[in-house]
């Protein structure tokens, strides 16, 4: 929901979470910074992609990614694994959770509530009415992004981590802090919903 708050408020909210002004002054370690750049910055696009899908807002995504990298830098000394990408994603996800909570304050109907009710509905639902004979047609990148963005949380998150970020089930489970079984059932629902939306859209286009 763009334009629902003023521009200057946003940066403050994210910055307040780590107070990274203070970090800058106290952790001037160029060698650490160099190692961090080499290890973490290659995943900037990946992190930005995940944030775009989680927050569905370009500006919020930028702020969240910046916050994520600064937090990651702060904790880089104690980083021992997992792989850099899932590690960054775990941090990014926490940043985005904080943003969800804040949005829930602003707007009634928290995103989490919607997600829970969606998860409770049976898997079964979407796919069954689709005629088997129908062919799934190609879509361009913008249409695919829009469809994925339309998925409800937490299915969107699971789907993006798997299909766009190529994380393993184990890594997704760790990032989302859920059992692997939950990853699988969320993925099943995500794919079923996406397929329905995909087919429904090409049905309309006829």
């Amino acid at each position: 929901m763009p334009g629902r708050r003023i521009e200057t408020g946003r940066a403050k909210i994210f910055a307040a979470q780590t107070g990274h002004e203070a970090m800058k002054a106290s952790e001037e370690d160029p060698e650490k910074a160099r190692r961090f750049r080499e290890a973490a910055l290659p995943y900037l696009d990946d992190a930005y992609t995940l944030a775009r899908y989680l927050l569905r807002d370009a500006n919020d995504a930028e702020d969240a990614v910046q916050e994520c990298f600064l937090r990651a830098y702060k904790h880089f000394d104690s980083y021992r694994g997992p792989a850099m990408k899932p590690w960054l994603f775990t941090i990014l996800r926490n940043v985005c959770r904080a943003e969800y909570a804040r949005r829930a304050d602003i707007k009634t109907g928290a995103i989490e509530d919607v997600a829970d009710s969606a998860e409770a509905t049976p898997l079964w639902h979407e796919a069954q009415e689709t005629p088997e004979a129908q062919m799934l047609r190609e879509k361009d990148s913008a249409a695919i992004r829009r469809l994925i963005a339309s998925l409800a949380e937490p299915f969107r998150e699971t789907f993006v981590l798997r299909e766009i970020q190529n994380l393993s089930y184990r890594e997704i489970a760790d990032v989302a802090a859920v059992p692997v079984g939950t990853v699988m059932s969320r993925l099943a629902r995500a794919r079923a919903m996406l397929r329905s939306a995909w087919l429904a859209e090409q049905e309309q286009a006829k």
Binding site: A33, R34, R37, P42, K139, S141, M184
Partner: protein, 253 residues
């Protein structure tokens, strides 16, 4: 196996996360169930279309700049010999350091600083004994030498027949990152061709600029940044760049 079970296990089958036993069970179910078979086909098609068309985003340069600006700046680059010693050690530590050097994404915003670092690297290379780490006019010797030292080995192209003699390759350090340098000579002039990976895969046409009495010709293509640095005149350096690009193009086709 019920359809509901199959539908969950189907995900793991598609994603290659299922053990052989379960995979066979799911495949058996699909073979006898048109509905689940249709799902499997469509899910695979969706994955393929998403992979083909791409659904990821590119971080805005401004975001990269903001993050960079918030991190402490790197100190002066360690000298090249130290880097090479690191590689020569061959220990687990240096292997890790080497893989850490992979993501050689030179930022576009700091063009001036990079140019002056390139000229410094060029000048260092002209000191006695510093020009090449591998001395060979044979591209088939120079190219494999880079393997394992850099994430992406620079293309090594023999242009001797075109008037630019290949004389070797070198590992250098620019913008606090390891970078490959392919060394050519025309008459008494040395040309260092620095090659680094870039996140930008678009082709950018060559531009020549002058710095501290040297010419720098920069272009990018196929996700690689090229800088040819030399005291050659701008026209001859352009000739070098054009011949290199043409040879690379014909090598690819």
């Amino acid at each position: 196996m019920t359809c509901e079970e199959a539908e969950v296990l189907l995900q793991a089958l598609i994603d290659g996360e299922l053990d052989a036993g379960h995979a066979r069970e799911v495949e058996n179910h699909i073979a006898g169930c048109p509905r689940c078979a249709a799902l499997a086909k469509d899910y695979r098609a969706m994955s393929r279309v998403i992979a083909d068309k791409g659904a990821s985003y590119t971080a805005p340069p401004e975001l990269r700049r903001r993050i960079e600006a918030a991190l402490p700046q790197p100190r002066a680059a360690p000298n090249r010999r130290a880097v090479l010693r690191g590689f020569a050690l061959g220990s687990a530590v240096s292997a890790m350091a080497a893989t850490g050097l992979v993501a050689i994404i030179l930022r576009n915003d700091d063009k001036t600083r990079i140019q002056s670092e390139l000229v410094s690297a060029h000048l260092r290379s002209l000191q006695a004994g510093h020009l090449t780490d591998v001395l060979s006019t044979d591209q088939h010797t120079v190219k494999p030498w880079f393997n394992g030292k850099l994430d992406v080995a620079p293309p090594v192209i023999d242009l001797t027949a075109k008037g630019f003699t290949l004389i070797g390759g070198r590992l250098d350090y620019v913008d606090a990152r390891a970078i490959g340098a392919v060394v050519y000579r025309r008459r008494q002039h040395v040309i260092n061709l620095f090659v680094a990976q870039t996140s930008d895969i678009e082709r950018h046409a060559a531009r020549t600029s002058a710095r501290q009495g040297f010419n720098i010709r920069h272009w990018s293509n196929h996700g690689l940044n090229f800088w040819a640095v030399s005291d050659l005149g701008a026209d001859e350096l352009a000739e070098f760049g054009d011949k290199f690009e043409a040879a690379m193009k014909s090598a690819a086709s």
